[in-house]
Subunit: 214 residues, 2 copies
DNA sequence: AATATTAGATAGTGAAACAATCCAATATCA
DNA sequence: TGATATTGGATTGTTTCACTATCTAATATT
């Protein structure tokens, strides 16, 4: 298909597509002449991925480009590649490429959960920041909460790991990175909706049979 | 304390503090003269909250202002206030203030989970967007995954609801809004770290006693 | 009295994410 | 075959955001 059709089917404007082409998020179409190129279904899927990463996950275009580069041509070290991809996900913590950070809150939390972790893994810094921010704002995560959250999150993570597709490392990386990124908003939304469900059942008597409260 | 001390203790620059004052995120200090005002601990806490909402939760300054307004002076309808606050949280979905949306994916998902929900609640749109984006990018949420996620997320939400502080509605709103917002990054980071923990235990034999793999 | 600080107002800055325009080369259609 | 439309490639413009800087006049501090 030509660009005009890609514009129609993807919903993105021509200017936006050209921009993504320039920034390397979208691969160029197969050139058929000096002024024509043909695009395929993979371009449509890519556009959907870009919108998912930017609009839903909340990545900047540059971070989305990083993630896409990583799942396109993963390095030989699976853990390094995965770590780099996780590091690009929000909330972004600038990696201290010099001295290793201490991350005291994250460390004690992970020890309490009995979890194995690599201190250089970006998510450690992300956890520390999240715990620090919650405390500073007056909502510290106490041990009870941490343990309950940890147990249920671990069950979710186990399901994720159990369903890594077999086959080439490429597919596993893609599943790991995009599954981490794309399912997070799902989990967040489900939690918000569970809050509402529980609150309605508890505080609004007939809500179970009359959701809208009309 | 004077502004200079607030600058020191908060880590924010004077220009930034003035900006937050202008935008209504930070309440003005008590004026002691035409060119002096005194600030207290509540200003420090507020600054920490602003940074938590912007840096960690990922809100824009304007959305953070909305959230702060809502928890400062909650309306008389608890559910409306809560819905408005949730609506300001990312991923931001513009509310269709005209015709009610359909949200087919979210609807079937919530029906399968047997959850009560208000279709006007912003999280419904957020869930739909997240499910749609995941599908379009090639990672649909199948029923098994949905049910497992749903069950564990519900357990987390139950803990949240069980620990709503007693007392005035003001405190409950604040807990609900900030607990929703501030604990989400904690949950996300814990999931990422559980992935790593499980992957290491599964694929790297001695990792349980040698986390860094040194 | 000299110097420093501050509130309040206004203007400026740099990055980000496109959007618009231009040109020359090709397609497409009448 | 000629007129019109589309496209690739490059460049420039626009808008928004989150600050940052500057200025003035009044007050604090030394």
């Amino acid at each position: 298909m030509r660009v005009s059709e890609l514009v129609q089917r993807s919903g993105a404007s021509l200017a936006t597509i050209k921009y993504y082409l320039r920034e390397g998020l979208l691969m160029p179409g197969e050139a058929t002449s000096a002024t024509q190129a043909s695009y395929g279904e993979e371009h449509l899927r890519r556009l959907a991925l870009i919108r998912a990463l930017t609009d839903v996950v909340g990545l900047s275009v540059q971070k989305a480009a990083e993630v896409i580069q990583l799942i396109e041509g993963p390095g030989d070290d699976l853990f390094l590649t995965l770590g780099a991809a996780i590091g690009a996900l929000p909330p972004y913590v600038e990696s201290s490429n010099e001295q290793a950070q201490d991350y005291p809150l994250a460390r004690t939390a992970l020890e309490r959960l009995g979890q194995v972790y690599d201190p250089d893994y970006p998510a450690v810094g992300q956890l520390d920041r999240a715990l620090t921010a919650a405390s500073a704002a007056g909502f510290p995560v106490d041990d009870d909460r941490l343990e309950l959250y940890g147990a249920h999150v671990r069950a979710i993570a186990e399901y994720d790991i159990d369903h890594v597709p077999e086959g080439p490392a490429q597919g596993a990386i893609e599943y790991a990175v995009l599954g981490t990124a794309l399912y997070e908003p799902v989990i967040a939304a489900l939690r918000r909706l569970s809050h509402q469900d529980l609150a309605m059942r508890r505080f609004v008597p007939d809500s179970a049979t009359d959701p809208a409260g009309s």
